[in-house]
């Protein structure tokens, strides 16, 4: 069965520092992976998807099939990046990890 693991519940960095939110998945086929974000008092929303190979708000994520990982990275964190981040895996349905709360301190 497919599963998503986000090993860090909490992550705190200072503004301007690099940030990496970890995501590992278990699935034997070719996965479709996503990062969703929930800012304070807002709805859960899509941040980026691996097939698009896009950078959204300075964030990128690379799929590493060998390590079954899809870590989210940003070289210079901003205070407005503080939010809850969820990694998600889509096979027949969308499965979410437990989430990582990122806090960017001034």
């Amino acid at each position: 069965a497919q599963r998503v693991t986000q090993p860090e519940k909490l992550l705190s960095v200072f503004k301007g520092a690099p940030v990496e939110l970890k995501c590992n998945y278990s699935y034997s086929g070719s996965p479709e992976l996503f990062w969703y974000v929930q800012y304070s008092r807002q709805r859960l929303q899509l941040l980026l998807r691996h097939i698009s190979r896009e950078s959204i708000k300075g964030f990128t994520a690379d799929l590493n099939k060998g390590e079954t990982s899809f870590h989210l990275k940003k070289p210079f964190a901003q205070e407005e990046d503080s939010a809850m981040y969820y990694c998600a895996l889509s096979v027949n349905d969308m499965r979410f990890g437990a989430g990582t709360r990122l806090t960017v301190k001034p």
Partner: protein
């Protein structure tokens, strides 16, 4: 901008009572999802609809939970009887769906927070 609507936003009930949540997806979205999110955890899929048909309800506790999407538009999730462990946020989401429409982007509602006393 079109949004997924959910009601009620908050519901407090006593155990053994019946509870119902309503969701109106974005117009034209064929796929509708109900997720349950327990505090400190990620959303857990309960049921997925494609139009009016259930695609996946393998995680739905069918002894007490039911869901319907009769006309393939809005949907209702019911719990009867509610138990203490059902306290959670119930999220509805919709997506375009279908082989040509699915992009992996789910649009979420604000959720319905249930507290069972």
């Amino acid at each position: 901008e079109a949004e997924v609507a959910q009601s009620p936003r908050y519901k407090i009930t006593e155990k053994s009572q019946a509870v119902a949540f309503w969701c109106d997806p974005i117009s034209g979205h064929a796929t509708l999802y109900w997720y349950r999110q327990i505090l400190g955890q990620g959303p857990e899929l309960l049921v997925q609809f494609q139009d009016e048909s259930v695609v996946d309800d393998s995680q739905l506790p069918k002894d007490r939970f039911s869901a319907e999407r009769l006309k393939g538009v809005d949907s209702t999730l019911k719990i009867q009887p509610a138990e203490l462990g059902d306290s959670a946020m119930y999220l509805c989401a919709s997506s375009l769906g279908g082989p040509s429409g699915y992009t992996g982007e789910l649009f979420f509602g604000e959720g319905s927070r249930l507290t069972v006393l």
